[in-house]
Subunit: 213 residues, 2 copies
């Protein structure tokens, strides 16, 4: 039996992840791949409750250590309950954020040590790495302008611009260090151009994986 592929979408606030997620799902469907679509933090009953604890704006005093542990608790469950079982049956999985987000937000943003996150990736996330990661990159000011236009703001979205600059820098550094896995998409361009770039990146990956239309 073939093993499914694992594609993740990463990026800061207002980068357009939801729109791109739908486009990638459709692209996979057009090749006959009914992907499991999930999101982080969350994606399981326990994980969605953990998400509520994480994003609750009344928890403004949540320490960086607790935030990191909660992210990996939700991830540990998601990997074992949904992602690994799906991949094992040959199904593809598409996730709105994964471990790269912890390196960016809890590492870059909150200053949690990279080695600590890497160690959690090893045992809590069972060492699972995406096969392809699309990083939607855009200047922080631009992203916050778009995100603010959306209305409601969660606990992490309430951080200041410096925090998001560190998040962006950490994302870009990870992309630069793993060029075979990452495709960096310039999300500051008009939507049609962004989607065209996403389609090109995903199609190239599908062709390499020998998935035919």
């Amino acid at each position: 039996m073939t093993v499914g592929k694992f594609i993740t979408l990463e990026g800061g606030e207002g980068a357009g992840k939801s729109t791109v997620l739908a486009a990638v799902r459709d692209l996979l469907a057009a090749r006959g791949l009914d992907a499991l679509v999930t999101r982080e933090p969350g994606g399981t009953p326990a994980g969605e409750e953990i998400r509520e604890v994480l994003l609750d704006t009344t928890h403004h005093g949540l320490c960086a250590e607790a935030e990191l542990l909660l992210m990996f608790a939700a991830r540990a469950q998601l990997v074992r309950e949904r992602v690994r079982p799906a991949l094992a049956t040959g199904r593809w999985v598409l996730s709105d954020r994964f471990t790269d987000a912890s390196f960016a937000y809890q590492g870059g943003g909150r200053g949690q040590p990279v080695e600590r996150i890497a160690e959690l990736e090893r045992w809590a996330a069972d060492g699972l790495k995406p096969d392809l990661t699309l990083l939607l990159d855009l200047p922080v000011v631009e992203g916050l302008k778009r995100a603010n236009g959306r209305g409601s703001t969660d606990r992490i979205e309430m951080e200041n611009a410096d925090f998001f600059e560190r998040v962006r820098a950490a994302y870009r550094a990870r992309a630069a260090s793993e060029p075979a896995r990452f495709r960096v998409i310039d999300a500051s361009r008009p939507l049609a151009a962004v989607l065209a770039n996403v389609r090109r990146a995903v199609s190239g990956f599908l062709d390499a994986a020998r998935v035919r239309a």
Copy 2:
């Protein structure tokens, strides 16, 4: 300024922790110590929500890794939000369970490696160790009989006797390896005898800490 002392209560199901906790609190009060009383998992707004995720019986498929991470997420927050600040002002802290419970339940019970738990103790719990730990020890069968008489059962209490045997063995091994910190109380004896032993242990500790009546 003097720093407060940190006392924890540990033990399996039906060991009588609630009764003993009240007795220890009264004993401290009689010496003029208004201790901060807390519990694990929980003790903070975020921690109590994490407790709900952990004990929810519908989460029967919660993996051992997520359970361990959630326990330490609640603990990380409890240490930084409540325990460390209280101790720093000279206040004593009394907690219904702490990190020893993770070594017993997630280590002994679920088989999570001891080194993994020790590493989390170091950074997530900020290396905080109790000054005195009372371990209420009794045979598993006896404890389960008492706990079942109480009615409602949470997710962890639903485990089988083998699980609780491993928990008890891990607790006893920790007590044996740190005799200066632990006092093992035979909780299978009549309540009056148990409380007498608890009072003797705590009074001895208070005398050594030079806290006068």
